[in-house]
Structures are given as C-alpha cells and as structure tokens.
C-alpha cells in the first residue's frame, strides 16, 4: 500500500506527460495584484498540475508549462477576472497519449 505522505509529487506525475510548450507565450496569465482573492489563492492548492504558487510577497503566480488545460482556475476567478485564460495556440500545450 502506498503511503500518501511518500506519494509522488505533482511535478513527478507531470514528467509522464507529453507537452509542446509554446516558449515565451504562456496561455494563462495572472493579472498584477497586491492581494489575491480567495478564489485565486485557492488555486495554489486546487490546480491539479500545481501550476500556481504563492510568492514571498504574497502574490499568486502561475507557471503554465505543465498545465493540463482543465479550466478550473478560470472558473474559480470568473467573478474577479484575475486570470487571463486562453487555450494554447493550436498544436501546443499538453498532448495526451491516452486521454
């Protein structure tokens, strides 16, 4: 039985996946902010790919290279508009082998 405490981290899971990263053109951007909303802050826990992190000065930042393109963050911030969310350019992003 796997011990949850020693379970693989999200980053390790993402190594299994195929991606074609559109270098320099992230498809998700967090707008500049002083204090993140509860919805945006929760993405540091809720993002299934662990793309969101809290900086030392208390802002939420995104590194979308490992994004699984689920859309949860867009829905979580729909009322605050703190995230600019687009699909990656055609052909880029996660490339599921099995789906």
């Amino acid at each position: 039985m796997t011990d949850v405490a020693t379970a693989p981290k999200v980053e390790e899971k993402l190594f299994q996946n195929r991606y074609l990263v559109d270098a320099g053109k992230p498809h998700i951007k967090v707008r500049a902010h002083e204090v993140p909303s509860a919805g945006l802050l929760s993405m540091t826990k809720l993002c299934p790919a662990g793309c969101y992190a809290l900086t030392e000065s208390g802002q939420v930042e995104v590194a979308a290279d490992g994004c699984l393109e689920c859309g949860t963050c867009r829905i979580m911030t729909k009322t605050t508009g703190e995230i600019e969310w687009n699909y990656p350019r055609g052909g880029f992003g996660v490339l599921y082998k099995f789906g």
Binding site: L68, R74, R89, G90, Y96
Partner: protein, 437 residues
Amino acid sequence: MANVEDKFDAIVVGAGPSGNAAAYTMAREGLNVLQIERGEYAGSKNVQGAILYADALEKIIPEFRDEAPLERHVIEQRMWTMDDTSHTGMHYRSSDFNEAKPNRYTILRAQFDKWFSSKVKEAGALVLCETTVTELVKDLTGTVIGVRTDRQGNPIYADVVVLAEGVNGLVGQRSGLREEVAADSVALAVKEMHFLPRETIEARFNLKGNEGVVIEAMGTITKGMTGTGFLYTNEESISVGIGCIVSDFAQSQVSPSELLEAFKAHPSIAPLIEGAEVKEYAAHLIPEGGYKAIPQLTGEGWIVVGDAGQFVNAVHREGSNLAMTTGRLAAETVVRLHRLGEEMSARNLKDYETRLEASFVMKDLKKYKGIPALLHRNKGTFFGAYPRLISQAMQTWFRVDGVDKKSKEQAILRNFRQTRTLRGLIGDAWSVARAWR
C-alpha cells in the same frame, strides 16, 4: 477537397465525440464540412474515463467494431460505497455481456478519437488540426457567419457553426452565447493510466480475453465532497481517477492530486493497481449540472452539442453517448435544412431541440433534474454519513463475536437513527425518491 478560402456548408468546432459525430453525419450526407481542432490530432486534448456506449456510435457507424480501437467489453459493473477501510459493493456480472455485439467498451480516448476522426475524413470532411478557433464571426444582424482562428488569415465562413468545443466552451462564451460555467455545476476529475501486463489484469479481475470490469465508487474517498472515484480495466492498463464538484474543492481546499493518491492507497484499490507503471496523469472538467445547467442550444447560425451543452448524465456516468447523440441529431437537423434550401436560422434550428426532446438525452436529463442539487446540498449525508453507516452495519452483521443477531440488528438500526434521526432518514428517502422519479 474544398479550399479553406471557400464558404462551407458547416464548420464544426472541436473533434471530440460530439464534433466527430456531427462532422461525420453531415459529410456523409454530402455537405461541405470543415472541422477545426486545436490538438495536434483529434484526441490529443481529450480526456475521459473512458467508457464507450455502443448504441450511440452504432447509430452513426454501425460497423465500428470491425475497426475502432476498443480496449475491453464490459461484463461486470461494480458499484461501491466506501469508508476509509472498506467497501460495500453491488456487483453485476453476466456472461450475457459476452455477446456478438457488446454493449459497453473501455476505450482510450486519444486513440479512439483519432480513429473517429479518420472516419470523418473518409466521409469527406476537411479536418484542420493544430488550429484554435478564437471567436465567432457575426454579421450586422448578429447572425453567426463563420469563425476566426489563431492562424493568420481571413475569417472562414459557413452557413452554420456547430459548437462542439467541450466543457470549457470558450468560443461560445466569448461570443456571448452563454455564461461561464458555474463552479457548482462542474466537476474536476483527475486520472492516471496504470500499465500492467494483460495477464495480471485478467487474474486480478477474473477476466478472460477481452472481458473488462468497471468500478464506480462513492463515499469517504471524496472527503465530504460531492464526487465519485472510478477504476476501469483496459487491455494492458487500468484507468484510475476521482472527481468532485469544483465549488466543493474550493470549500475544502483539498488538493485533487492528493485526493487521487489517497484513493489509490485505499486498501480496496491499492492491490488492484499494485506494481503498475504510471504513464500519464490527466485532469479534465465534467459538466455535472444536469438539465438545469443546459445553456441556450441554438441561435442564428449556431448550434451547440456535447459537453459545451452540459450533456452529461452524472447519475449514470454517461457522457460520450450523449455527446455522440447530440452531435448526430444536430447534424440531422442541419442536413435536413440544407436539403430543403432553408436558412440556418434560430427558428429553423429549433428542430434540433425537438429531436433532443424526443430522444433519451433530454428524457434522462429531465428525469434526474433534481439530483445534482440534492446531492450537492446534502453532500455530508450522501458522501459521508451513509457510506460510514453502511460499512458499520456490514461490519456489525458479518463479524462473529458472540453477540446475538437480534442485538446486532438493534445496534445497526440505533446507529442509523442516532446519526440521521428517524425524521432525517425518512426525509432523505423521500427527497431521493422524489428527485429520482
């Protein structure tokens, strides 16, 4: 083959089950169809459990079994309610499912969608991959007349645009056709692909040849959230996943990937996937709002199919069959109007909604229209209290410890009454019965 500069009879946005069903049906009937897909190939962006229900595809491609990449036909369905150390199961296994034309199959969507797309091309549609549709193009009256993509160049025009763009539905949203998806009517599911030799899978699940088993599970595995876990046997892999309503994740602040790890570590699941090599980790949203969450489906020059229209029967875990059926019905409406030389107006496209009403799609979604809200409102009860009570009752009943059976019966009933109260038990039964009707 048509040139992209031309005007098409129809443009289909997206190449999942609904888009492929629509594009195939229209192209086969001779319409000049352009299908646009953002993935490298059809299927590369698509995620599902996944179970294919034969009936919906048979109505589109009757001979699909001869060539489609299918994993295993399902002969056994296990429904589990789980607490932290146990599962109580209702299993249905029948050799009747070993029929010449099996009813349900496990599939791998990336491979299946690629095959379906090849059929769309054979039928004569032009399939443009690696292209993201960015917006709908409207004329001065607001009628949709085409699409813009992220490729340079002019808009591409068509008589009608079929929006098969999936659950996120950005194109329709940003063109003002519908609202953003609500956090309480969509589930976030995460899934891993666990590879094992086929003999190992067959031994662990008591299978021969291409027989398969599916497990659907609910209970404390979702940590008080509205959701379910699943495990599906494929030919040489096992799909394991778990999903919960997004607003519940927001409330609980549970990490989806940790939720999946805990599900995999459950003593009822861990031995089934032990020693497997994980080859993919996926996440996807599933529309779970049911009938009440269905957006506007038709308008001037546009029509919505599949997940973009919230066509998922969450109670029965059906989605791809609703997707294919809505895609086919939308296409049949378009083909009919095209043949009659009629406009693709909002009024004429309503024919699609009439067809939907007459099909199992709307009948089933209507039947269960009260279920999503009921489960969500009482998630602590249905996904926590009852699974625990059922497990405790089973344990009390099966453990032989010198206590007489009458006392055991009384202890079980007392536990139910103390946890839910008599009024609560009756209320729960009443509200489920009413929502189920």
